[in-house]
């Protein structure tokens, strides 16, 4: 019988994490890392990503009653692959959202720092602004 593989777990966490990041960004107003201009689309994307990843990982071919009925990934492996997949999801979100916002929103507004900067500008612009503002001082 097949087992749950580390690759499958990685893909599951990656897609679910992208969904969670979009959901939380839409909820907390971090507009800079949203994929869509309309919040409703972001919420829809989040629910599809989270729901779809859970459905695929657990229910596709009834995996919860077949491949998951034996030892798969150990706790330490789950932790390792979760961290890797979450990091990949974060990088994907930051790059993807910045590329989608490459037109418009070019100039930084306000003087927010850290995560707060992402409420007004894309990630690339925010990082550029963050390093420039240090140089200005």
């Amino acid at each position: 019988m097949d087992k749950v593989t580390s690759f499958q777990y990685f893909i599951f966490v990656f897609i679910a994490s992208v969904g969670v990041l979009q959901l939380i960004a839409a909820g907390t107003g971090l507009k800079g890392i949203l994929f869509f201009k309309r919040k409703a689309l972001d919420y829809l994307f989040s629910f599809l990503a989270i729901g779809g990843s859970f459905y695929w990982f657990f229910q596709w071919h009834n995996r919860i009653d077949t491949v998951m009925r034996q030892t798969g990934l150990e706790g330490a492996q789950q932790f390792l692959y979760f961290c890797m997949a979450t990091f990949a999801a974060l990088v994907f979100t930051l790059i993807g959202s910045s590329l989608l916002k490459v037109r418009g929103k070019g100039q930084p507004k306000g003087n927010r720092q850290g995560l707060d900067a992402l409420k007004e500008m894309s990630y690339f612009v925010a990082v550029k602004h963050s390093f420039r503002s240090k140089g200005d001082k």
Partner: protein, 200 residues
């Protein structure tokens, strides 16, 4: 104690097969990945919560404590496995094997203390110290997953209670040893870098 353990386990386990819906819920809750993925995704989401930088940093510290506590709890469980050992319920009572197979699968690791409850309670107790509201929310999956494993006769109730105590103690221990100059130095440096690259 053993008698009480057995009575509680058999009472909970007697519910298997009575309701298809309840069995289905327990299959999901006992699953190796489902609850742990939900807890980890909540921790990820909490990283971005907080009205201002100071509030956010307190969440970040709680998440770091939770992650370290979950990992340390696993280590303490391994150490405890070597100090005391008793067989899982389905090994002591082979007649329970059918219920084990209908909900979960026969585990090969030692059952005392429960690794599952140690990890889930470590996460809940870490967040409880930051916010009782979030801690209480995390307590729901922390209780449900080990309960589902008792339902499936994979763990004794005492395994779960011992795991929970170990998880809570680990979370408070980690929180207690954290405020030292070396940790503050490293943490402040990491937060400074993360703020510079707009991730904290």
């Amino acid at each position: 104690m053993t008698n009480v353990d057995e009575k509680v386990l058999l009472w909970i386990n007697s519910l298997v097969g009575k309701s298809a819906a309840l069995d289905r819920i327990m299959i999901w809750l006992a699953n190796d990945y489902f609850i742990l993925a939900i807890i980890s995704l909540i921790l990820l989401a909490l990283w971005f919560v907080g009205g201002d930088m100071a509030q956010r940093e307190s969440y970040h510290r709680a998440i770091i404590v939770a992650a370290i506590s979950m990992g340390s709890a696993c280590g303490f469980v391994l150490a405890a496995n070597n100090l005391y050992h008793h067989d899982a319920p389905f090994k002591t009572m082979p007649e329970l094997m059918d219920t084990v197979n209908s909900i979960f699968y026969p585990i090969v690791d030692p059952s005392f203390p429960s690794n599952t409850s140690a990890v889930t309670f470590a996460a809940a107790a870490s967040l409880w110290q930051k916010s009782h509201k979030i801690g209480a929310l995390m307590l729901i999956p922390a209780i449900l997953m080990p309960f589902a494993k008792v339902y499936a006769a994979v763990y004794w109730p005492s395994d779960v209670v011992a795991g929970a105590i170990l998880g809570v103690l680990t979370a408070y221990f980690i929180k207690w040893i954290m405020p030292n100059p070396l940790f503050e130095l490293v943490a402040n440096l990491i937060f400074k870098v993360l703020r510079k690259i707009c991730l904290a």
